[in-house]
């Protein structure tokens, strides 16, 4: 029995070690003299577009490598002000960028995109959601972002504009996890960005929110002061703001700021 316990504990330790190393193991390839590796912290709603922009940027700048850490803007801002090794920060709301700027970790952010909200439902629409007003119904299970995450802030604005109170069943860490709850059919509806519905394709059905009720958020981008790859970081930021970058964002459903 003791031997079994020891083995179990040892295995648990190995499993735990495996988890943590895979989490932080992405920092293995450090900068080479010719090109640089930059780390971009970007809002979860930018997952698709920035991954594509990163590939295009790497093609246009041979030798440079772009790595991404996608997550909730609020969480990324907290990580950056705690000293996380980011070179560029792209936030889904000015408030989270302001937090980084006021901590002295970035300056002169520039807005590069604008996003509005849409209701996402599973394709078979089990909650029979036909308008954003249906989200106030008790029978409709709704997933929202945490209130401090931009998608949670903007969703609250929409509900205020419409004049409804929504009691969600879960508050998710970021917009992509809201989308996942919708895709898996565990909720009847989720408040996500227009771009998320578009990116999800046939996995979800979008219910448009009338422009008069909808709310939007601006996406600012800035380089991080402690970056050791300043020129590459600036180059990536310029690429996002360039016509080529804007084309990718527009194609994904983002609007111009």
């Amino acid at each position: 029995m003791r031997r079994f316990t020891v083995i179990a504990v040892a295995l648990a330790a190995v499993a735990a070690a495996g988890c943590s190393s895979s989490g932080s193991g992405s920092s293995s390839s450090s900068s080479s003299p010719s090109g640089g590796t930059i780390t971009v912290f970007a809002a979860a709603s930018l997952t698709g577009t920035f991954t594509q922009l990163g590939k295009q940027f790497e093609a246009a700048h041979p030798g440079d490598t772009v790595r991404f850490s996608f997550g909730p803007s609020s969480g990324l801002a907290e990580q950056i002000t705690s000293g996380a090794p980011a070179d560029v920060f792209a936030s889904a709301a000015p408030a989270n960028m302001d937090q980084v700027v006021s901590a002295g970790d970035a300056s002169n952010p520039q807005n590069f995109a604008l996003n509005t909200m849409e209701v996402a439902t599973p394709p078979n629409n089990p909650g029979k959601v036909t308008s954003v007003n249906d989200l106030a119904k008790k029978s409709v299970k709704v997933a929202l972002c945490q209130p401090q995450v931009p998608c949670g802030v903007v969703a609250a604005e929409v509900f205020k504009n419409v004049g409804i109170t929504v009691k969600p069943v879960t508050l998710q860490p970021d917009v992509k996890s809201v989308l996942t709850q919708v895709e898996t059919g565990n909720v009847d509806a989720g408040m996500v960005y227009v771009t998320d519905v578009m990116a999800a394709g046939s996995k979800v059905t979008g219910v448009t929110i009338p422009a008069s009720d909808n709310a939007s958020t601006e996406y600012p981008i800035a380089t991080i002061k402690s970056s050791k790859q300043k020129s590459e970081a600036q180059a990536f930021m310029n690429y996002v703001l360039s016509p080529a970058g804007q084309q990718v964002l527009t194609a994904a459903g983002f609007e111009k700021p």
Binding site: M1, A8, C19, S74, G75, T184, N186
Partner: protein, 284 residues
């Protein structure tokens, strides 16, 4: 120790002898340095928590509505998890320890798998089984209108999935090493099998039952990955202490540290209550 201890000694006696013998021995430098690094690595983060703790406003940080709700939710779900694990886990431990049937080793491996499985994988598995479109969940939903995710029930299920195996292996081990002569004596004196179980077996393994229950409770209290994956997160419904700590770090770091301190204190209490089993090297 280079000399093997006599094998007839119990683990506890061996540990005591080792402790007595080792106390006066000097530690070789090649062992001392890494040992000190290990101590520093394990202890320094805890000191960091204590240094940064907002001692002046700790009461205010903990009395926030979300913190109180998270604390209450965590305490009762961990307790419910332990109760359920005692009711269904102890009989399973008995079956594993006292019977033999084909496939028993496989069964033991299966039910102790959550010990080594990353909890978030457990959460995904629970979602695929009991989620609204899961292979069991879809019938619960269409037949009874019951959806488990995002309810406190989901929290208890996630915690039970992760924590119950700790109780099972602890009790199973105790049952295996317990002297079955007493049970046989009771049986020959005419006691029914359930009476033997209640009056002889359970009292005999009571210390391990207690240790397993405390271990199970502590593991349930700390559960994060399976819970957030299967139960989601909503204050008062499914947002347990560890999840509250995780989110509070983004919005209110002082509250996150205060909540962490509470969990640290609980952990210390658990360790103290288990000291006979672990700190003195006794067998589980």
């Amino acid at each position: 120790m280079t000399v093997a201890a006599p094998s007839h000694l119990t683990a506890r006696e061996r540990a005591r002898r080792a402790a007595r013998g080792g106390a006066s021995r000097s530690v070789p430098a090649p062992l001392l340095a890494p040992a000190l690094i290990a101590v520093g690595f394990l202890v320094l983060p805890l000191i960091g928590l204590l240094i940064r703790a907002p001692w002046g406003s700790i009461g205010a940080a903990l009395s926030g509505a979300d913190a109180t709700q998270a604390l209450i939710l965590s305490l009762w779900t961990a307790t419910a998890t332990t109760a359920i694990s005692l009711v269904i886990g102890v009989p399973l431990a008995w079956v594993l320890a006292r019977t033999s049937f084909p496939g028993q080793r496989l069964l033991r491996a299966l039910v102790t798998l959550p010990l080594v499985l990353p909890p978030v994988v457990g959460g995904v598995a629970l979602l695929l089984a009991f989620g609204r479109t899961g292979f069991i969940g879809q019938y619960l939903n269409s037949w009874f209108g019951l959806t488990i995710p995002f309810t406190p029930l989901a929290v208890v299920m996630a915690e039970t999935f992760v924590a119950m195996p700790f109780l099972i292996i602890t009790v199973e081990g105790a049952l295996r090493s317990a002297d079955q002569g007493f049970e046989e004596a009771a049986a020959t004196l005419g006691a029914r099998r359930m009476t033997v179980f209640r009056r002889v077996t359970v009292p005999m393994v009571a210390p391990s039952l207690g240790a397993g229950a405390v271990l199970c409770w502590a593991r349930a209290l700390g559960e994060f990955g399976a819970t957030i994956t299967f139960a989601g997160s909503f204050p008062g419904q499914t947002e347990t202490m560890p999840i509250a700590v995780y989110y509070a770090l983004e919005t209110d770091p002082d509250a996150a540290i205060a909540l962490s301190l509470v969990l640290l204190v609980v952990s210390v209490i658990v360790l103290v209550s288990l000291r006979d089993h672990w700190l003195r090297g006794g067998s589980l």
